[in-house]
Amino acid sequence: MKLYDVTDLAVRNLRQSVFRNSLTTIGISVGVASLVAMLSLGIGLQQRASRRLQKSGLFDTVVATSRRDLRNVRAQREDGPPPAESPALDEPARKKIEQLPGVVEASPDIRFVTEMRFDGKPHLTMVAGVPFSAKSNNDAFDGMQGSFFSSEASPEVILQKSFAEELLGMTPKPGTDNTNIAELAKPLLGKELTMRYAERTASPSASPTTTVSGDGGPSDGAAYSVVSHRQALKIVGVTDLDPDSMRGTARARVFLPLKLAQDLHVVQSGLRDTSPSDAPTYTSLSVRVGNPNQVPSVEDAIKKMGFSAFSLVDATRSVRQFFAVLDGFLAIFGSLALAVASIGIVNTLVMAILERRREIGIMKALGASDADVRGLFFAEAGAMGLVGGAVGVTLGWAIGRLINFGTNIYLERQHFPPAQIWSVPLWLVLSAIAFSIVVSLLSGLYPAARAARLDPVQALRYE
């Protein structure tokens, strides 16, 4: 038979016992729906976790450090020129790194420990410059109270939750981590902090009062003075999450616009900085790479330039592995319902054989081949799979949405920002329908073979 005829007859047969076939199809739909709902949650969580990890810099950031940096223990072990002879991590080097293939941005890492005065009381903390681009690519700022910096160099600060607590004189009780960030931010937003810092200025005179010369470095006569300054800063935001999560112990709790931090020329500890202030050198650069796959090549290129470089690309592998296992488990649970549904298909088609025994006999007497009969039952199974798959995907999508909706109500009550924990990508839609058809066809194997083998003489005798 031609494909058209097989399809036509199959659809006709399905319509004959529309109630029973609908029930079977609903069974398949429920199976597919549970599979899609499970996987959409798995994929949604994975996407959310990867996005969070990506924005945290785990996936796409290479940290380049100058080998001159005293704190750079790694530099002592690595091959290459001795620290003293390695190139300076200055503005030309930054530009050169930024032009490496695959690099999106290379921003200097400026961080220093300083004193912040609030309400007349001093607070010692680590301060870090944050590039303006972090507004969109670091999701620690997504759920923040207040707003991001208004411009690239505005005298504004964003506080990490723990520092905000310190300013308000709150000591976090052990075991309770659910301080309401909104209430925490209310008395702080718009208020002023005063930062005391040491500015590094070029010293024109040969005998400055407070001159520090490059310690042990190739002295080319350059020297700088350190001048104490104050800078008033407006609190614009308080963030719950840690934008500086990659930094370990050097984590900052106060964040300034990077451009402002650069312009202030703050003395950074441990830097063998011998250059004058108008040509700054950096302790390290955060190099953001467009595609996580390019991280190793960028890392190599930076090392070839004579700097130290490190990334956490290996960490991403175990995260992906975890989600592969999670998705696998979710798929198995989701498939259980589909397995039950496939038994329903077998049952329905075997019933159909009994019911249509005589009809099969007639068709065979008229010249239908085994393949024709088999094809017909296959087409019926496939059609139920297709319709069941399509309805099931829609149903699964709706269930996923519902779970997402419910979760967000819960998150809101717990004072967490809303989250998209559910995702139905096109590939999931298509593969769920394809899977449903394949499962249905497999379920149709036995009934189709049984119908094809039917003895026409017996079948015609059957009343």
């Binding site: 031609k2 007639i362 008229l366 026409p456």
Partner: protein
Amino acid sequence: MESSSPNSLAVRTENVSRHYQMGEALVRAVDGISIDIRAGEFVALLGASGSGKSSLLNLVAGLDRPTSGTVIVQGNNLAALSREALAKYRLHTVGMVFQSFNLIPSMSLLENVELPMRFAEVDRRERSTQARQSLERVGLSARLAHRPTELSGGEQQRASLARALINRPKLLLADEPTGNLDSRTGTEIMDLVRSFNHSLGMTVLMVTHELALAEKYAGRMVHLADGRLVDDRRNDDARNVSSLPASGSQKGTQ
């Protein structure tokens, strides 16, 4: 495949048997029948219930395979054909008419008649044209869209005839075609069968237990009892009988 010129052999069975195992007992439904049927003959298979006439018909139809012996139709040894080839044989070489009509209730008459052409992969438009012509020939052109259940028994059997002839078979096999019909309608059907026998030169093998009907239409009457051939004779009394001689290899033993 041989052509069906007059006097050429349409069907030959050689010592054909069909035995069934029913529990402990062995049922000899067909038990060593040899018979030759020439192309264009109208043969009636007569006998009481259980005499094996329908079983023999099923063997010739290629619906069943013999336990032993051979069935040769139009030069094809049916026992040697694969399942696939046997289906092709049923599709193109034989047309079947049954006592209970065996039309598919969910299909209209036109669709029922078209059905064998679907298996023959005939183009849709061509199929519809031929099915209409075939139904017209049996006088049902006004009933194309009707379901079988909406028709009388005679009309259903005429539709069934139209379906049997749609793929232009060489051999028409009829199993008690008038068994479910009143005598007047039965006569109408038999007149149609005879007209096809005459006009198309189609060989007809008809199973019946009505002697009168056989005498009226069949040019040759073969009697079976307990799976054996007991009588095979020409019937020159049949109206407008085609002048073909009986050629049974086994003569009556009574």
